[in-house]
């Protein structure tokens, strides 16, 4: 089968701008992307540079992007890529702005953020155990496979918030934090939750785009873990009152009162005095009939049912 590859090339030591090599190649559709990278190096240009080590989808070093999709080169079959995108494929590093050479990126920021959440177990371990330390299956299940993360960074480099906010810890660090906050043996749950509860760096800045869930080659669902961290922050009483936490709580209050949201009131409740900065915007919206006045606020039919359900089904206090 014939494919046309556009391959990103850049050497930070010598090049001012990157360029793309166009290579036509006949491939065996059963090949994985890494086979193709090898052939580019062996048959096209020996200076072509990429990382790989295990060839079994467990070391995380071979992550690249194919047509914008983050992927482990050693795991992803060409036939699936062709089915998704056709036979014109663009191969790029996971992050163009961090490139050192061709597919190789500088992961320093990734590792620094990863360390922030203390990626190790904090537990009293018997140095001379007489028997295995057994965790019941239902406790192990709570990890929801978060211990399968191979730190490939696919989710991190796919995350749009990482691109625009340097402080933001990003999905891989959060998923790692959850790996320990969900572990019954860990003593540092609150400490970790406090680290991820900070505005700017923490879980409240996630835009909920699901790019990380889509990108993760191990199907770990980092955004799912982020939601769990949100839940734990409330459950453990770690949540500070700020615009993000009040925003979440405000939904319950609004639903209880009207069934549907009182959008204006929700903004005011979340922002507190900061709501004043929205006045110019609110005026523009008002002029266009985009603001409902409190006395016209619509309510759901059968509101009593909703009130009752909120009362009997709420599991969290704040």
């Amino acid at each position: 089968m014939k494919v046309t590859l556009k391959v990103f090339r850049f050497n930070a030591e010598t090049d001012y701008l990157p360029h793309y090599d166009t290579i036509e190649m006949s491939i065996d559709p059963r090949d994985v992307v890494l086979d193709v990278l090898n052939r580019i190096k062996w048959e096209h240009d020996g200076s072509f540079t990429y990382r790989r080590s295990c060839r079994h989808g467990i070391c995380g070093s071979c992550a690249v992007k194919v047509n914008g999709r983050s992927t482990l080169a050693c795991k992803e079959r060409m036939v699936d890529m062709i089915e998704l995108f056709g036979n014109e494929l663009t191969i790029e590093p996971v992050s163009k702005k961090r490139v050192i050479k061709d597919m190789v990126v500088d992961k320093a920021d990734f590792w620094k953020k990863y360390e922030t959440v203390k990626p190790w177990l904090e537990a009293k371990i018997d140095e001379h155990p007489t028997m295995e330390n057994i965790i019941p299956p239902e406790e192990a299940e709570k990890l929801e496979e978060s211990d399968y993360c191979i730190q490939c960074g696919c989710c991190y480099y796919a995350c749009p918030v990482v691109e625009v906010n340097e402080e933001y810890l990003g999905p891989a660090a959060f998923e790692k934090a959850y790996r320990f906050t969900a572990d019954v043996r860990d003593y540092a749950k609150k400490e970790r939750l406090e680290i991820v509860d900070i505005l700017g760096q923490g879980v409240w800045d996630c835009v909920k785009c699901y790019e990380c869930a889509q990108a993760c080659p191990k199907h770990i669902d980092p955004i799912g873990k982020i939601t769990k961290l949100h839940n734990q922050i409330f459950e453990e009483g770690v949540a500070k009152s700020n615009v993000a936490t009040r925003h979440a709580v405000g939904f319950k209050k609004s639903i209880e009162k009207h069934g549907i949201l009182d959008e204006g009131h929700l903004v005011a409740y979340s922002e507190g005095i900061g709501v004043l900065k929205h006045v110019p915007e609110a005026l523009e919206m008002f002029k266009k009939g985009k603001i409902v006045m409190p006395w016209n606020m619509p309510k759901s039919k059968n509101l009593d049912e909703i009130k009752k359900l909120v009362k009997i089904s709420s599991t969290v206090k704040f």
Binding site: L84, P160, E211, I260, L261, I291, S300
Partner: protein, 294 residues
């Protein structure tokens, strides 16, 4: 084709800050002879924020909304990507987990309801494509949009996570290269603009706590559409619409880009309605902060 009937879950935004979305949806349904039964009993889906606070409560409330579609014996359609995400995610979790379903039903029974799992939940966009069909839609076009370069903005929660999307829709959208909106634009004889940010996030969900992030993402999408000569953007999500339309000036300012011309941002049914010959009034085109020249 027998008459199509759906239970319409409007969500909150179409009843408040984007009244034009509800208006134009009803106008388009009327033109296409699709019957929409409004679920006035429904509550807010939690918009992915209630879920952060109280997951179980959000499951109960979303299940209750679906119960009302089931009572009518109809599939539910949504007109907001985030409503679609939260409703369909609830449905999938309950359908796959009998224990959880039983726990939720225990609460619902207290108000005389039972969640069964009989109604499908899809965004109006995919109901149109899958049930009405683009060929049938093409036949209804009276004002082709051939003069317009239209940039589709898909919005995250309709296309990601793809497992969820694929579970509920026959059109298996590729989240890295979605095509449904492009195909719909072509069916209306418009020119769909291909641009990198069409499947990216607008940042709406952090608008309050991280306005800079939100503005950067919105601004980048608008700038990308502008750079690819779009005359107008269209989105199936009212939350994306609020960012792209209401926050347009602020977003471009944060991005540090001047707008050579304001970019009108249409709701999906507004665009369809234009091609079907609905009037600007029927489509609520005067409700936009970034004016729509008609």
């Amino acid at each position: 084709m027998s008459k199509l009937r759906y239970a319409l879950y409007t969500g909150c935004t179409a009843r408040e800050s984007t009244p034009e979305l509800l208006k134009s949806t009803l106008a388009v349904a009327k033109k296409l002879d699709i019957e929409l039964v409004l679920l006035d009993e429904a509550s807010c889906c939690g918009a992915s924020h209630l879920q952060d606070f109280d997951d179980f409560l959000s499951l109960v409330l979303n299940a209750r909304n679906i119960c009302y579609a089931e009572k009518h014996g109809l599939d539910m359609v949504t007109i907001c990507n985030t409503c679609q995400l939260n409703t369909s995610m609830t449905k999938l979790r309950l359908d796959e987990n009998p224990e959880l379903k039983a726990k939720v039903n225990e609460k619902l029974e207290e108000v005389g309801l039972v969640y069964q799992g009989t109604s499908n939940v899809r965004h109006f966009l995919y109901a149109l494509i899958e049930d009405y069909g683009l060929n049938n839609l093409r036949k209804k076009v009276v004002k082709p949009l051939s003069e317009l370069n239209i940039a589709p903005f898909y919005g995250c929660h309709n296309i990601r996570p793809s497992e969820l999307h694929h579970h509920f829709n026959r059109s298996k959208e590729n989240p890295y290269n979605p095509t449904s909106l492009d195909e719909l634009i072509e069916a209306l004889e418009g020119n769909s603009v291909d641009y990198e940010h069409k499947n990216k996030c607008c940042g709406f969900h952090v608008d309050l706590q991280a306005p800079k992030t939100s503005n950067m993402l919105t601004g980048t999408a608008i700038a990308d559409a502008l750079d690819n000569n779009a005359d107008v953007m269209v989105t199936p999500c009212p939350l994306c619409h609020l960012n792209l339309d209401v926050k347009q000036k602020a977003a471009m300012k944060t991005l540090g880009r001047d707008l050579p011309y304001p970019m009108p941002v249409l709701h999906l049914p507004q665009l369809i309605g234009l091609a079907l010959g609905c009037t600007p009034e029927e489509l609520g085109l005067k409700h936009h902060v970034t004016e729509v020249p008609v």
